[in-house]
Amino acid sequence: MGKFNVLNHELVPEHYVLDSKEEEKVLRELGITKDLLPKINKSDPAIIALEQSHGDINPGSVIKIVRKSPTAGISVYYRVVVSGETVR
């Protein structure tokens, strides 16, 4: 059985890697530094799945997540990649 790509699952929101230009724009709009963004582990299944299409994603990259929301329609969230340890 081929490995299932978690990003294709209905309940997993869309993940995008921002390029440095977009990254800068987002941080400027939010008026914050990167360390104040919510974090996501490099070992997170969504990042691993994203790496299949995008290539290696380094810690410090900003991920844009677009979620479906019953009240807001669409909600955008940003998370910065960190190299956390996980037990596997």
Binding site: D35, T71, S75, E85
Partner: protein, 887 residues
């Protein structure tokens, strides 16, 4: 964000105290277990030595020379005869022993492995990532090292160390003494410590085995003198006495060469005392007890749990300017008010700083003395104390009031008693949501209880079966302003939980409004005037003239409390609640409540209109006309209800459930049929003829079939009973209007109680293969498994009664379990969320500024201001505009 902050914590470091450090911070070495001599004077080098601080007035500290409130207390120390392990570090000691070589002391990793791990540790350190990932890495490293059975450096074979809880380590069954443990820990080289997450500058592993014990200052463990003059020592002192005694005996035995067995026993005893000194609830050892049998409260017990230092003294404190008493109802108060007994009001004060604008008022207050009354003997606020600018307190009495009123001047402070109109905070525990503490304005009443409007029972979850509530008097102008603007009851009428009203009419209010509006009855002028005298009306409603007499319609009377310009149309509960198809579906008069420009045209007012949680009228008035009108509507509605019921009257009783003989017979017939059906089901099960449902076992299928039959029987008999009980029946009125109880409860009383259940199934517990000894083994018939054929009114037979109690108990147990569990969950949520904040860009961030949500709740909507969770009720807005334009 950093305005006004002069100091900020840069970091906190946790470290272990080394033996040298303990000795260094100690003022005196304690060598004797005695405390006081016969004259009651502290014994030198005893546990109460004067070097450890003073708590008795008159004595001076031998260390700093300070008197009682000047000396902060000083540590001493005890030299333990033999080392003992520290219970708090058992886990860490085990990890160290497991992961290092028992001979050479080095971590059991090769140089290459060490290098690789060191790199990862440094990477994590530089990244400043969270502690969790570091502890995960450390765990992985130590796990790997522990799994090695041969030392990569000295090739020594490793023996597995087993922890015999709480504090004994064994190797192949042989005890490893704390002394041996300490020696092994000493052998671990400094550079290996980083792999355990330990920082050499802060700690050494062998410090987790104690050789020296710090003795806390006496300020920490003061002795108390009882009324009899007897001295009673603190639990910690008792424990320290034990430790010194055993340590002494151990030293003597060791020095005079006693048998090894005796030494080991004493050593274990010392370990026990030191362990319980830290934590007297260590699993695996009996807690040390007082002579009276009470378990000692030692260090951990002082901090832990609900009664511990954190939850009892730091997160929660006792406060001044508060009162607590029993609550009772008072329908003539507004929802915004609270009745405070005179007795309490005389004790509770509001400070008034005297300035050139209020000095005359202040003088008048003081002049009135501590217990003034007006010419009719009614309460007036007085003054208990005045404060001089230097802070000195002067008690105001009847005698000195006049003189004191002349003395006060600008800069003085006057503590005025509670007055009508003051804003106070009112609270009932458990404070589960923000409406558990609301602002009320004071009304001074006689009696001894706090009183408030019944509509406020819901947010506080209060009733009057002995409930008590707390009152807090605000002391600052800013606090009072905040309370008035955001905490007042009228500001809290909508719940942030579902964006609807949490305040509304209950019980009799709903019954009354139902009776007043259902079928739009006529009331004579006398009756109408009586009802409306409870409400402040400007003019009488429209009337009709019948036989030359004035009559008023119920809906018109109700309309008098509706604001002008109010429009609404919605389905009433009466029509929406009853089963598949509403019997009122075709009667426009009853189906929809229609209000146009503040005049009620059709429908019946019930729970759906004015109840808490669902009351549409309350919600829409509040949203259209604001908090003041919302509160005013509730105030007038509750008063009108009382006015109405005091002329019409309303009562309920067991006769509500009288049904004709034929109905009783037909219910009996229903239950007979059900029993018969269950009999055939069991029969076919026994014969193996029952077809199992998909995915179910035969037994499960049978149970489900039987539950279906019993459910049907109950519903059927409920229908038969209800058919006899119409809307003229008070119990039915209460159920159908939503005032209290459900139709199901009525059918339980009049029809049949039905199947009792535990965990969703028929009752199946008690004796071997039967619920009670009255049944034969393996009886799975209806009666044997909790089918109650009787109605509450008929009464249950003893067997039914017993099985009914089993089912009833489940409910009680559920509630007990649920509350404790949800309470703990809520505590954790509160602690996790307490410093999150929504800023003006609707972003949720913590105190550091780290973002939690980019938009509060993804949509930035405050649920309190939402429309039952939705952003807007466009349908209503459109409807309202259309109706308003027509009017």
């Amino acid at each position: 964000m950093t305005e006004g902050i002069s100091k900020r914590i840069y970091r906190i470091q946790f470290a272990l105290l080394s033996p040298e450090e303990i000795r260094k911070m100690s003022q005196i070495k304690i060598i004797t277990a005695d405390t006081y001599d016969d004259d009651g004077y502290p014994i030198e080098r005893g546990l109460m030595d004067l070097h450890l601080g003073v708590i008795e007035p008159g004595l001076k500290c031998a260390t700093c020379g300070g008197k009682v409130d000047e000396c902060p207390g000083h540590f001493g120390h005890i030299e333990l005869a033999m080392p003992v392990v520290h219970v708090g570090f058992i886990k860490e000691i085990k990890t160290f022993l497991d992961a290092t070589c028992k001979r050479c002391g080095r971590i059991k990793l090769t140089e290459d492995e060490k290098k690789a791990y060191l790199q990862r540790i440094n990477a994590l350190n530089n990244e400043n990532s969270d502690i969790d990932s570091m502890s995960l890495l450390v765990k992985r490293i130590t796990d790997e090292a522990s799994s090695r059975t041969v030392c990569p450096y000295c090739d020594a074979q490793q023996i597995k160390v087993i922890l015999d809880k709480p504090t004994t380590f064994r190797e192949e069954g042989i005890k490893v003494t704390p002394k041996e443990i300490r020696e092994r820990l000493e052998r671990i080289p400094d550079e290996d410590l980083i792999f355990f997450g330990m920082n050499r500058t802060a700690a050494r592993p062998e410090w987790m085995v104690l050789t020296v014990l710090p003795v806390p200052p006496i300020n920490v463990r003061p002795s108390i003198t009882l009324d009899t003059g007897e001295r009673s020592e603190d639990d910690l002192t008792h424990k320290l006495v034990d430790i010194i005694r055993i340590s002494q005996r151990l030293r003597e035995s060791r020095d005079n060469g006693s048998p090894q067995l005796i030494i080991e026993d004493l050593w274990d005893l010392l370990q026990f005392h030191v362990t319980t000194y830290f934590d007297n609830q260590t699993a695996g050892i009996p807690p040390a007890r007082h002579r009276s049998g009470r378990a000692l409260k030692t260090l951990v017990q002082r901090l832990k749990g609900k009664e511990g230092r954190f939850r009892s003294n730091l997160s929660g404190k006792r406060v001044n300017f508060s009162a607590r008493t029993v609550i009772s109802p008072e329908p003539f108060l507004s929802v915004n008010e609270v009745g405070v007994p005179e007795l309490a009001a005389r004790e509770l004060t509001v400070p008034m700083t005297v300035n050139r604008f209020n000095i005359e008022t202040a003088r008048e207050f003081v002049k009135a003395g501590p217990a003034p009354r007006d010419q009719f003997g009614r309460y007036l606020p007085g003054v208990n104390y005045i404060l001089r600018p230097d802070g000195r307190r002067i008690k105001v009495t009847k005698e000195n009031a006049d003189e004191n009123s002349k003395r006060i001047d600008i800069g003085w402070s006057v503590e005025r008693q509670l007055a009508e109109g003051d804003i106070v905070l009112f609270n009932r525990q458990p404070s589960l949501h923000r409406m558990s503490m609301m602002g009320h304005t004071v009304r001074i009443l006689s009696g001894r209880t706090f009183r408030f409007n019944l509509a406020v029972c819901t947010p506080y979850n209060a009733d009057f079966d002995g409930d008590e509530m707390n009152l807090h008097i605000l002391q600052k102008e800013e606090a009072r302003a905040e309370a008035r603007i955001i905490m007042k009851v009228q500001e809290q009428m909508l719940s942030p939980r579902f964006g609807g009203p949490i305040i509304g009419g209950i019980h009799d209010h709903i019954t009354a409004m139902f009776l007043l509006t259902h079928n739009n009855p006529l009331y004579s002028e006398e009756e109408t005037v009586h009802m409306l005298s409870f409400v402040d009306v400007d003019e009488m409603p429209d009337h009709e003239i019948i036989n030359g007499k004035k009559f008023y319609r119920g809906r018109d009377i109700f309309s008098t409390i509706l604001p002008k310009g109010f429009n609404i149309k919605f389905r009433s509960k009466l029509c929406s609640g009853a089963g598949e198809k509403c019997e009122y579906e075709d009667r426009i008069e009853d189906k929809d409540v229609f209000i146009k420009d503040g005049k009620m045209l059709t429908g019946t007012i019930d729970e759906a209109s004015i109840g808490p949680f669902s009351g549409v009228i309350i919600e829409k008035i509040y949203k259209k006309f604001g908090p003041h009108e919302g509160a005013r509507f509730v105030d007038r509605m509750t008063r009108l209800a009382v006015g109405f019921l005091s002329t019409r009257g309303f009562s309920t009783g067991i006769t509500d459930y009288d049904i004709p003989e034929e109905a009783v017979k037909s219910i009996a017939e229903t239950s007979r049929k059900a029993l018969e059906k269950i009999g055939t089901l069991i029969d076919s099960y026994n014969k193996g003829l029952l077809e199992p449902m998909p995915g179910r076992s035969l037994e499960e299928t049978l149970e489900m079939e039987i539950l279906g039959v019993t459910g049907e029987a109950r519903d059927e008999s409920g229908k038969i009973a209800s058919a006899q009980l119409g809307l003229s029946n008070p119990s039915v009125i209460m159920a159908r209007s939503g005032a209290r109880a459900k139709m199901l409860n009525i059918s339980e009383v009049a029809g049949m109680v039905g199947q009792q259940s535990v965990r969703g199934g028929r009752i199946n517990r008690g004796y071997t293969q039967r619920t009670l000894p009255h049944f034969s083994w393996g009886d799975i018939g209806a009666e044997a498994r909790g089918f109650v054929e009787s109605s509450y009114k008929q009464g249950l037979n003893p067997l039914e009664y017993f099985l009914h109690s089993i089912g009833g108990r489940e409910g009680l147990v559920d509630i007990a379990v649920r509350t404790s569990r949800s309470g703990y969950m809520q505590r954790r949520l509160i602690n996790a969320f307490e410093d999150l904040k929504v800023d003006d860009s609707r972003r949720v961030a913590d105190t550091v500024g780290a973002i939690i949500q980019f938009k509060y709740g993804e949509d930035g909507i405050d649920p309190t201001r939402s429309d039952m969770g939705k952003t807007l009720d466009l349908n209503y807005i459109e409807f309202d505009q259309k109706e308003s334009a027509e009017a």
